[in-house]
């Protein structure tokens, strides 16, 4: 496809919520943004003159008239540059390309009750959930976990919500009794969770222990691809070799080398970037491949995963 998919936009407003959280309102430059379903993300592209950054962020809100999209960006300590750049240089007027908009974390519309669990930045998909669940009169509860110093910021974010349904906690989930609350949920409840890896692991294990069927526990891993040991890929179809540096992803290295590699979410969540591995051993960091697929050793998601061996040969 010759036509570049997406929407040209620019930063309209920036608000600091906490020292590490900033809200960006993006304004469409040409046609308006499409309506978005709760839980959607947008892949944003922006550049500092030297480097092009491509990151996916949950869409917190799309304005009724379609002119604005709102995202909240966390300054991650392990940021490879994108979030850091937005925090430092993301001022009104900065051009941003809104690429693919998709939803990997939708509300289950047939659920009888929705239990939303978030920690830190993990609240962002639920800000769009809450609006929808309230407007359709659904049965839902949100428990949000954060550090004590961030409490006022999150309470402010949730100020317009139905206060009998949203709770902000500064203790750990295990300390407030979340395991008991999960235990007491009815069988028809769907649980959704999003937050840092430690939180995710705890909720995953606890819901499993409480007997939630896999189809009733839904999660979105906020995956910031981390760097790692440099390695080299060999493109079997052309014989070309592409070096992957310590601070870039395999996908970025392929794009830099003008290789037409598939991709969508850029966060190891959708599976669109799967490529066949012909030789070498992958270091899987995604949330998509099944155990069997990992064991087969012949597929890799280029957006987050790396290599355990010095070279990887790909069917590209």
């Amino acid at each position: 496809m010759a036509e570049r998919m997406g929407f040209p936009a620019s930063i309209e407003r920036v608000e600091s919520l906490t020292p590490t959280l900033r809200r960006f309102v993006l304004s469409a430059q040409k046609q308006t943004f499409p309506p978005v379903s709760p839980g959607s993300y947008a892949a944003l592209e922006f550049e500092d003159g030297e480097k092009v950054y491509k990151n996916a962020y949950s869409i917190v809100e799309r304005s009724e008239d379609g002119r604005d999209l709102t995202v909240i960006v966390r300054l991650a300590p392990q940021s490879r540059g994108g979030s850091r750049f937005l925090h430092e240089k993301g001022r009104p007027g900065l051009p941003v390309w809104v690429g693919s908009v998709a939803n990997l974390f939708p509300i289950v519309k047939t659920a009888r009750r929705h239990l939303l669990l978030s920690a830190g930045i993990g609240i962002t998909p639920f800000l769009s959930y809450l609006k929808k669940l309230r407007s359709v009169g659904a049965d839902y509860t949100l428990h949000h976990f954060c550090r004590a110093e961030e409490r006022p910021a999150f309470e402010a974010l949730l100020a317009d919500q139905d206060q009998v349904r949203v709770f902000v906690h500064t203790e750990l989930p295990s300390e407030v009794g979340l395991a008991d609350w999960l235990q007491d949920e009815a069988i028809a409840t769907h649980v959704y969770f999003c937050g840092p890896e430690g939180f995710m692991k705890w909720v995953e294990e606890t819901t499993h222990r409480c007997g939630f069927a896999p189809g009733k526990a839904h999660s979105e891993h906020f995956f910031v691809p981390e760097g790692g040991r440099p390695f080299e890929v060999i493109l079997a179809r052309s014989g070309r070799r592409v070096a992957v540096k310590a601070d870039e992803t395999l996908l970025e290295a392929l794009e830099q080398a003008d290789v037409d590699a598939p991709c969508m979410c850029r966060g190891g969540a959708c599976g669109a970037c799967a490529v066949t591995v012909l030789d070498g051993q992958a270091d899987h960091r995604d949330h998509v491949l099944t155990e069997a697929e990992r064991a087969s050793g012949n597929v890799i998601l280029t957006c987050v995963s790396r290599a355990k061996t010095d070279t990887l040969t790909l069917d590209l």
């Binding site: 496809m1 998919m5 499409p34 309506p35 978005v36 379903s37 839980g39 959607s40 693919s100 908009v101 998709a102 939803n103 939708p106 289950v108 519309k109 047939t110 189809g215 969508m264 959708c270 599976g271 669109a272």
Partner: protein, 347 residues
């Protein structure tokens, strides 16, 4: 397409459906090669394509008024041909918006849409409909939004909710189907509603197809062609009415084969709907009798080769067993065996 002002087609006895030369040449002939087997024949649904039928989001042709009238008749006889589960409300509005936006921009002479915020005015000049309504407020339309729009479009439509890494048929309007039933398939998952199809499952087609569709993105619709054969120009070959049309299959003779036997092609297109995250599956049916296919040398030769060599399991599944040999015998003298170009274009 021009000059349509009244119902002139009849899709039930006494049958009367005539195709102009333009309609014949814009037909989406389904065979790019001389043999046929299932494949992931999915491509982006972009403007342009080997035949004119693919050049709009939703194709409108000279049978528009006749097909809408037949659809209205079927719905009056059997209202349950249109069903939508309550959790698909957002998808209904998504569908109405997609239909009105694309029809009015693709065919401005036939359809007009004016929007002021949520106050919309829709005019369908072919069916003499004009309607002011509030987008999002069902009470301002004469029917629910999906039904309202689907009645004004050729072809069948189903709405699919996405959950648990699967697609669920949770709504639709189905009146021109090739022997499947919305009443039966409602609420089924992707693999469940495809269960009757032979071979494709072992070939891994459904696993790959589902994986692909779960990632379908807004603004990037895709399309594929599917085909079967139908005796007489009947749009409604439903299981519900099998007692009416089933016996037609035994009525084909060497004398009537060119008139009676139709190649039935579905131009299927799939769209991610933005508000609901649902998927719209549009199934537009084209019926072309053998006598019309005969006028295009490439198509009549290729149809002969495909039918002659078709896998028996596929032929049975498509219901061709009673008359396939009669069609092949009829076409054989008109195929000189010359090599044909790859692709579905008439040449």
């Amino acid at each position: 397409m021009s000059g349509q002002t009244h119902v002139r087609d009849s899709y039930r006895p006494p049958f009367h459906v005539e195709n102009s030369e333009e309609t014949i040449l814009r037909f989406p002939f389904p065979f790019p090669e001389d043999t046929y087997m299932y494949s992931m024949n999915v491509e982006p649904h972009v403007r342009g394509g080997p035949v004119e039928a693919m050049s709009h989001t939703f194709d409108v042709d000279e049978h528009y008024i006749g097909e809408c009238a037949e659809k209205a008749r079927i719905l009056a006889e059997d209202p349950k041909r249109c069903m939508v589960l309550p959790h698909m409300r957002d998808a209904e509005w998504d569908f109405l918006e997609l239909g009105m936006d694309s029809l009015s921009s693709d065919y401005p002479g036939h359809f007009t849409l004016k929007k002021e915020g949520n106050d919309w005015r829709w005019e369908n000049h072919l069916l003499n409909i004009s309607q002011s309504f509030v987008f999002g407020d069902e009470a301002t339309l004469p029917q629910a939004p999906f039904e309202y729009m689907a009645r004004q479009m050729q072809g069948d439509f189903t709405l699919h909710d996405q959950r648990e890494n699967d697609l669920w048929m949770d709504g639709g309007m189905v009146t021109s189907q090739a022997d499947w039933s919305l009443k039966f398939d409602m609420g089924m998952s992707f693999r469940q509603w495809h269960a009757p199809v032979p071979k494709a499952s072992e070939m891994g087609i459904f696993d790959r197809g589902l994986r692909f569709l779960l990632m379908l993105q807004y603004g990037r619709p895709v399309r594929r062609l599917n085909w079967t054969m139908t005796i007489n120009p009947r749009l409604d070959t439903s299981p519900e009415n099998y007692m009416i049309w089933g016996e037609d299959r035994a009525s084909v003779t060497p004398e009537n084969v060119a008139e009676k036997v139709h190649l039935r092609v579905e131009l299927q297109s799939l769209y991610r709907l933005p508000r609901s995250n649902a998927i719209l599956f549009a199934i537009r049916c084209y019926l072309l009798p053998i006598k019309d296919i005969m006028t295009v040398p490439k198509w009549r030769k290729r149809l002969h080769r495909v039918l002659r060599d078709l896998d028996p399991a596929l032929a049975s599944y498509k219901g061709l067993d009673l008359y396939r040999s009669t069609v092949v015998e009829f076409l054989r003298p008109h195929d000189d065996g010359a090599p044909l170009s790859v692709g579905i274009q008439p040449e």
